[in-house]
Amino acid sequence: MLVPFSWLKEYVHIELSPDELAKRFDLTGTAVESVKYLDKELDKVIVGLVVDCEKHPNADRLKVCQVDIGEEELRQIVCGAPNVEGGQVVPVGLPGARLPNGIELSRAKIRGIESNGMICSKSELGLGEDAAGIMVLDSTYEIGTPLAKALGLDDVVFELEVTANRPDCLGMIGVAREAAAITAAELKLPSTSVMEGVRPAAEMASVEIKDPELCPRYEARLIMGVKIGPSPLWMRRRLEKAGVRPISNIVDATNYVMIETGQPLHAFDFDQVGGGKIIVRRATEGERIVTLDEVERLLLTDDLVIADASRAIAIAGIMGGGYSEVTDRTVNVLLEAAHFKPESIMRTSRRLGLFSEASARFEKGVDPNIVQFASDRAIELMRELAGGEVLKGEIDVYPTRIEPRNLTLRTRRVNAILGASLETKEVSTILSHLGLGVKPASEDAHLLKVTVPTFRFDLEREIDLVEEVARLYGYDVIESTLPESSGKRGGLSPEQRMAGVIAERLISQGLFEARTYSFMGPQDADNMNLPADSAYRNAIPLLNPLSEEQSIMRTSLLPGLLKVVRHNLYREQYSVKEFEVGRVFMPADGAILPEEKRMLGIVLSGRVLGYEWYDKEKGRRFDFYDLKGVVTDLVERIGIGDWSIMPSKDPRFHPGKSADLLIGGEPAGAFGQIHPAVQANYDLPVEVMAAEISHDLLIEGASLERFFEEIPRFPGISLDVALVVDESVTNEEIIKMIEREGGDILESAGVFDVFQDGGIPAGKKSVAYTMTYRSTERTLTVEEAKERQAKIVARLQKDFNAIIRS
């Protein structure tokens, strides 16, 4: 809502400066989005007279003008506008001026000719869209006066954000009422006396409401013999400052009063109202109307129309029809002031995509009892501006009067909600300032009976009154306290703490946390190499997505993370290590809401290190074992007791370089190298190691319970063995064998070398293990250890056909 300060002051005496008032508005709940000083924008722009205008000697399209701006000497200004001529009164920007469009003017030489300013266009001055030529002013303007003053722009315009609960502030009087309340000033309403003729309006026209639910009130007034023309300057200025384009005296009067009262009005050319009949009814099946904007609209039977004897002449509360519109030839006018049901207006306006100043107000709600006031005010303005005769009386159909609401307010309740100790009298005073009727209840001195006028129909409950008291009393003077409760036990749940441990562990492993969008596209399922029956394809589609790529809810974190890898690899980031903890969404059988599962996604791609000077494996890229290290370190750290891995059949991964993670024997996720086809689908220049594991299952299986394990008191003995075995023999098989043969004195066994080279026969590999033997009760002898080692080696030779290398 644009509120020119000068207009507001018509209704309320304000001593505060515009900035002070804006602050007061802000702190009482009327948010001020901007305070615009109109004259500041036109500083150093002066009214000038083009005394002489000649062609530029060095340029065909430029002219050299001598301009009188009230100084002793004429100013020479070079101008490129096609419409500049001698004798015109024009706006002249002086050097140093900063125009609303951002241009800063300075003295300049243009094609060798000195130019001491600029003759401006409307668009350069922010006064209109016309940029084709200079703005030519009324010749009556005094030469040398600042343009802002000449145009009556020495004013301030507030831009107010009107919240959904305060549609009364969509009218100047509502804003003034609010301003009066917050400054404890008095509201002055304009006079509504109408100079009427003797002919009764009711003899010329009739109003019938067929659907009083959608239209509780309709008032018509008639004015005959008007002369259509432009409105006077003062009215045009006011409308422009309030953001409304002036059209003609009759239309401007309706708009002016709408801005003033918040009550939308409509003027019909009465001679086009068939039979002089106004019928408010629902549209008939298949009914059409051409609206003012010259678009034909198909109506539904839910839509309310204003019709004459034969057809719809307006869509109620939204827009008039072209055929009954006021034109230059209009002589007799029927003025409509009506009240419509907000929901109906909103529904029709949204369905048609047709929004107007009127519909914006009606759909938020208008005071049903301002109708008469607005109607009188507008018809008298029309008479003053356009002449003619106002017919006697109004035709006001208002079958069921909407009465003010009665509420009660307990001072105790106010204080309990605010944490304040207001007296009943203070509460009463505050509410009176808002224009509410307040009197103490006879039975209880701390109970107020409040009559809420219909202009504040948002006040429906006691709590609404509490809020009014709070905001006018001032949030700033309410004392700050903290809740006094014995019932507070802050902290994270064990699961939430565990989630923190997981994140911390991954971070200490060098991974950076990512956050990606929760959407994916159908093409991601194909890109991820998923078979037609894959559960990942069973995604939840959005009914109204923004794009195809973001049209379904993700069933996996990996598409998003692969895009992150690509983003980085193509931007000189050669080492990408990221993880994400986020939800995926799967339809749940028999439930409306899907199952939301929290997953952990990990991606490693590119170089392990940069080109560090100490890196002896320069350029080595992440491989399966880097990823496996991250995954297994994590599950060990969070104390998952029963986990294992097995070769994975997950089609998203390289079949030979991937594994499933099992927790308690149940699949909990997979990790490995992304399948080369998937890599190609996502346009990834190098291989990517990725994991997707159920975060929920990790947390479920995790335990931070630990029992202290005695630190060994006796020395251990470590012995190594290197052997050549078939390529197909796995580490796990060998370790299991060693552990079985090692018995009670074998503390640990681990692989420390694996290689294949020319010295090793094809199909074979060399592996080396170190075994540590220890007793918890005594110092083991070397002989004991060697004896056990020999047993193990013999078993390895026998079972794996191993050849001992050392």
């Binding site: 709940g29 809020e467 060098g510 946390e513 969008y517 969404f585 939301e596």
Partner: protein
């Protein structure tokens, strides 16, 4: 060995000790005089061969010489040791300006860091952390929160739907939650007051991606419901939060506002931490809006079966991206979701 011979051996020994250049050379000298077959050792062994009257004199002299040689050796050894150590250290010197081997450690996402910081402050005030589904029923997201059926947020242009029965909103329409507030209802349905919870979470609005809009973003919601909760409590709580989050010198300002599910409601500003209320490019007028808040509307309390006459509550909600952008001077929301390593490494 005669006394003169002993003396000349001594001089010869002292001279060679003085000229010795390394600890190893010195060791050779020691062996040649004091070793098993060394000259002085031999002289001692030969004492028996001397006439009885000479033995005490020469014996004393040999012992004296031995001590002198030992002393000379020790002092020369110390000298040589120092300079050799010095040379050794010099030879082992490294270029301390070469970069160190830094452990590769990652970081939490900035949004997680900010969320954790907020949560931590409220845990200190006695709150617990609650969460709820991201795909939510209309009932929880709108209806139970006192949102009118025709509220613009309920339109398909503003909110993502995954299930919608018809044009009019229905309780069991399913949508991507537009705020973390539905968790208020879920928490209240599941428990009785006192309730003190903080709710972090991902929320969705149907906005195309640009520097200041994202269809996915994050909020943190707070809810306190108890006997005798007041607007003053809300104010005090937010002041504690703002000071902890943005600095001890910060002031907090509540401006009346309107939300469907709180009344009275407020928008909350914190004094600008860049210019300290003088007015700057970040704040404009000295104040920065950081969250929306209010007293839980009695309709909402009644909806979950609480008695608004005996309990009251406050709720507040803030955008995590907004706070991160303000605090760290980030002007493009897309950075949070691109996960560029150069962005992630900075925080």
């Amino acid at each position: 060995m005669k006394a003169e011979e002993v003396r000349s051996v001594k001089e010869e020994a002292i001279a060679s000790i003085k000229s010795a250049g390394t600890v190893a050379e010195l060791e050779e000298i020691r062996v040649s005089y004091l070793g098993k077959k060394g000259k002085i050792t031999s002289a001692l062994k030969e004492l028996g061969m001397l006439p009885a009257e000479e033995r005490p004199v020469v014996g004393a002299l040999v012992n004296e010489v031995r001590q002198e040689i030992e002393q000379a050796l020790a002092s020369r050894r110390e000298e040589l040791g120092k300079s050799e150590l010095k040379a050794k250290f010099e030879a082992e010197r490294v270029d301390i300006t070469l970069p160190g081997r830094k452990p590769n450690v990652g970081r939490k996402h900035l949004l997680t860091q900010v969320t954790d910081e907020i949560i931590d402050i409220f845990i200190g005030l006695g709150y617990r952390v609650a969460e709820g589904p991201e795909i939510e029923l209309d009932y929880y997201n709108f209806e139970a929160l006192n949102t009118p059926p025709d509220h613009p947020a309920r339109s398909t242009t503003d909110t993502f739907y995954v299930r919608k029965a018809g044009d009019r909103p229905a309780s069991d329409d399913a949508l991507l939650r537009t705020h973390t507030s539905p968790v208020q209802i879920r928490v209240m349905e599941a428990a009785k007051p006192p309730i003190y919870v903080i709710v972090p979470g991902r929320v969705y609005r149907r906005d195309a991606i640009d520097p200041t809009h994202s269809p996915v973003f994050h909020q943190v919601e707070g809810l306190a419901v108890d006997e005798k909760i007041t607007l003053g409590d809300l104010k005090g709580t937010l002041e504690v939060f703002a000071k902890a989050m943005f600095g001890e010198d910060r002031e907090v300002r509540l401006r009346p506002h309107f939300f469907p599910f709180t009344e009275p409601s407020a928008e909350v500003d914190v004094s600008c931490f860049v210019c300290n209320r003088r007015g700057c490019r970040v704040c404009g007028n000295g104040w920065i809006e950081i969250l929306g808040a209010g007293m839980v509307d009695p309709n909402v309390l009644a909806q979950v079966g609480y008695d608004p006459e005996t309990v009251s509550g406050f709720a507040f909600g803030m955008g995590v991206e907004r706070i991160a952008m303000l605090k760290y001077g980030i002007s493009d929301m897309r950075l949070f979701f691109e996960n560029d390593m150069r962005f992630l490494r900075q925080f």
